[in-house]
Symmetry: C2
Subunit: 211 residues, 2 copies
């Protein structure tokens, strides 16, 4: 199977993950609304935005050099822009969870999920900024770029991996809070969502890893 075939599988599992996540949040949970008086509807903005931004768009951005037709500068622009949108969605998602905590008087950033998530978000911002300065504006000298590129690539792959760890631990935390048990249908839905997100990450990593 070619790298293009693998990125096809990545797109597929990305879309499956979005569908499963929406079914879960809208049908099984309370729905999604940032401005609601129901804290749980506010909270549900968090998993959706974090997945759409920090996993789906980031994965698509990583694969953009393979999947966007045309010259390399176009691929680079798509790569940078998708990451920028990811950061904006990520900020909305983080605001949603802090708003939910304020509404319910719940402690912030104490779980392993939140520690992994916050670290990933900060390092991601740093990576985006260093990438912008080095490869786009103002752009470093050719020699420096060539030296930085393997680091930029490896760091980007590791950050997607960290974001997926954040997603899986987040699903576990939520499953614990709502008391999901072995016989609940929702348990299986959450598990399939988690596996689908994991497979998206796996196929993104494979599509850039098999060279």
């Amino acid at each position: 199977m070619s790298a293009i075939g693998i990125s096809g599988l990545a797109h597929l599992f990305g879309i499956i993950s979005i569908i499963l996540l929406l079914v879960w949040l809208v049908h099984y949970r309370e729905g999604i609304d940032y401005d609601s008086d129901d804290g749980f509807r506010v909270f549900n903005v968090h998993p959706l935005m974090m997945f759409l931004g920090f996993i789906f768009l980031v994965g698509e951005a990583i694969m953009a050099f393979q999947t966007v037709p045309g010259e390399r500068p176009k691929g680079k622009f798509v790569h940078m822009t998708l990451h920028l949108i990811a950061i904006v969605l990520g900020i909305v998602g983080l605001c949603a969870v802090f708003k939910f905590h304020n509404m319910g008087n719940i402690a912030d950033v104490y779980s392993l999920h939140s520690w992994i998530g916050i670290s990933t978000f900060c390092l991601f911002g740093l990576q985006w900024l260093i990438g912008l300065i080095t490869f786009m504006f103002p752009g470093a000298q050719a020699q420096t770029r060539a030296r930085m590129l393997p680091w930029h690539r490896a760091s980007g792959r590791v950050l997607l991996f960290m974001a997926i760890c954040a997603a899986e631990t987040g699903l576990m935390e939520k499953a614990g809070f709502i008391g999901l048990k072995a016989h609940h249908r929702e348990t299986k839905l959450v598990n399939f969502t988690g596996l689908s997100i994991l497979l998206f990450g796996v196929f993104v990593e494979m599509s850039v890893g098999v060279r």
Copy 2:
């Protein structure tokens, strides 16, 4: 920083993770004993064996071609043997959790953690077998090996990433079961353990990713 420097950081976080895990299981939890009548002591064999086998030894095996001095066949032998020990430790760790479930009449393999873990274990066994047949005994033709190597490498990196997702979700599940709260000292210990395991994975991936 060179790839060797990064693998040094990986060793460091590997050892920190073992220490934190032992402090947690022995000092904060019930201790570790496969043959105990106390189910929790039996259970504690699980996180230790899974980390030692499927994360620490696997990470060391991935880095073996850089860290083991001497010719490539020696590195290959160390790589294969560490993975074999990992599988044995993994089987002991899996038996421990099934024994614990039997003792307490708890349902098997229903959480996201267990789904990720079981998938990783099965794919890992497959990867080891295909690797053995292709690269060691009986060994494929040079052309086939060359075609398989990028796939073997990419799959191996993805499997370490899956194993770390399994570990992080496992820590979250346990934290939920024992009801860890924001103000507990144990919560911070579990979080630092999780971050340390994540950093081990990050540095292993970076050490083979930056070429």
